[in-house]
Symmetry: C2
């Protein structure tokens, strides 16, 4: 690569936040998956990652697993991070020991292990989990309606992650209209890939569902990476490696900007402003990314598998500045993996506003 | 039997209403099940029955089935009655043709056929079904929470029938506390039989669930017969005959009155006043029942199977007066099956109050 790109437009944005970051061997002792994912994240413009508490074969359902996940960050942490814990049918009391060490509670309904299907068990978590810490769930259809009722009855906000269907986004839209305190995110892959492209991946939206997601963009509070890219790679018979999908985020979204389907504000709102507000994340000082926004290129193969190799995309991360240091320049990670801090205990009134973050007209360099 | 019972106390109550009346061959052409059930009902003190729209092999899911059920009432109708229709995943538009001919919409979740498990399908019914006609459901656990949310989002009252568990009654209690417009009934059998008595019948409450029902008596708006007695007889290997459980209602409830567990007011509230208010039923003029309340007897075998044969019970229906005529005297049905009318179109503001119906001190004869 060369650095002769000064004739293209670029914009400076605040560091992006991935609110659903999938780490396959999350709580496996000695795993370097966290390091790999945090490195892929910073290189892709994410200065903060909220770690999903469910890995492939390990989950953060108790204090012991959390200690393992925390210790794995010693291998290298290229961006700030934030852990959550996952609810089980029986661990509501146990989790009260770790609330101050994590950013949120995740109530899983669509994972292979540890699902909750009893209203009473979910109710216990709503009773015990502190009111100032967010609750996140991947509930769908009836489970989604059920958890929205419980959140409403317990006067608790709830965030729905990786919404994929027309029915679910419609229910969330109606709930918001009626004043329920609910927010949601959609995996970026869901906006650009459907079961029409990959019939073998039932986790992708149908084409009709995908259209409903775009039509309800105003209902979508955040974009996320989530585990969907990893699920797709698995369903296509690929080896599951850490970090799938992260690198595709900026190119996909800026390609949509170029096509007039999204605005810069849409992106900053859903990958920085709303994630910060919903999860009460501390602002990262002197942290920004520079993105080249109008040069089209053909996606080349990289270390991590991507379904977009060979596609024409727009949007390149030129520079990532983390806490005043250039962490990444023109695709090269300059940082050494020591800059990332555990921000799990952040929040609860500490977050600040930064009104001018989305330039009215993008900064042109 | 002799009529020399004048030395015992009796009370006069308004005609009872069974809001969940199970008719096995509901929509089978030429079936006499309706006649049999209406006769058992009047003999047991029920002057009005709301017919459940789900039978054993037939359900009221369209206009055609409703016509069959209506025509079966020509065989004999000993009490007033009220039909409902059952929702399916696809019949919301179709049912709009029959709304004026039925008393309510039933959304089934726990029947062998015709269950709905899609939030979107239920939502369609909430959109199409007229706001002045009640909606009833047998949803449990997550389905219950889901339908409570939908009812709340669509600002519609909903009635939950045959609540059986601690979890469900607790969720309904919390929902009522938070102002949701929800009512419920409990099958009388659930109050007096548990899985401790009949482990082979999983439809009965556990002992713990049953205790929770009694503790939440204030949450229970209505008592009902429901299909639970028929389910129990089936699970015990009995032939399924129409009318099981109806005759046991008064004896079970008055035995509880005698034991100090219920008051007369509890019964009138839940078998007459609340059913009328919730389902907007017209008052039946000159209709009352006389119940002998303090003579204990041993339950004898009757035409219809009962698990209480041989048990010591209190409470005997002495006389039933329907629309000014003695329909039943001392266990003998005097009526000929022509007095019952279709009250399905009743309601919508027509019901009246009758403040003095529960005598401060029971009338002693
Ligand atoms: Zn370079
Ligand atoms: Zn697999
Ligand atoms: Zn910011
Ligand atoms: Zn700050
Ligand atoms: Zn006699
Ligand atoms: Zn069976
Ligand atoms: Zn009355
Ligand atoms: Zn009247």
């Amino acid at each position: 690569k060369t650095d002769s790109i000064s004739s293209y437009r670029s914009v400076v944005l605040p560091g992006l936040i991935n609110i659903a970051t999938f780490i396959p061997d999350l709580a496996v002792h000695g795993s370097t998956d966290f390091e790999t994912v945090s490195k892929a994240s910073i290189a892709s413009g994410f200065s903060m990652i909220r770690v999903m508490p469910i890995g492939v074969e390990s989950s953060l359902t108790d204090a012991r697993a959390l200690v393992v996940a925390q210790s794995n960050t010693q291998e290298g942490a290229y961006c700030d991070y934030n852990f959550s814990v996952a609810a089980t049918a029986t661990n509501s009391q146990q989790l009260s020991q770790v609330t101050m060490k994590v950013g949120s509670l995740f109530i899983p309904f669509h994972n292979l292990s540890g699902n909750i299907n009893k209203v009473a068990a979910v109710t216990e978590h709503f009773k015990v989990w502190p009111a100032f810490k967010p609750i996140v769930t991947d509930a769908r259809t009836t489970d989604l309606a059920s958890i929205l009722l419980l959140a409403s009855l317990h006067t608790r906000p709830v965030h729905i992650t990786s919404v994929t269907t027309k029915d679910d986004i419609s229910l969330i839209a109606l709930s918001k209209e009626k004043g329920l305190n609910v927010t949601c995110d959609v995996s970026v892959y869901s906006l650009f890939l459907s079961q029409l492209d990959y019939p073998e991946c039932s986790s992708l939206p149908s084409k009709e569902d995908q259209e409903a997601l775009w039509e309800n963009l105003g209902i979508i509070d955040c974009f996320s990476v989530g585990s969907l890219p990893s699920q797709l790679s698995h369903d296509l018979g690929q080896d599951l490696v850490p970090g799938i999908g992260i690198e595709d985020t900026i190119p996909l979204l800026f390609t949509a900007v170029n096509a007039g389907r999204l605005t810069l504000e849409d992106i900053v709102l859903r990958l920085h402003i709303n994630p910060k507000a919903i999860f009460e994340l501390h602002d990262q000082p002197d942290t920004s990314i520079e993105v080249e926004i109008d040069r089209q290129y053909t996606r080349k193969e990289s270390v991590i598998w991507s379904p977009f190799v060979g596609k024409k995309l727009t949007g390149t991360v030129l520079r990532v500045t983390l806490k005043g240091q250039t962490a990444c320049l023109d695709g090269h990670v300059l940082a050494t993996g020591t800059a990332g801090s555990d921000m799990s205990a952040s929040g609860a009134g500490k977050f600040e506003r930064h009104p001018g973050v989305v330039p009215a007209s993008p900064l042109i360099t």
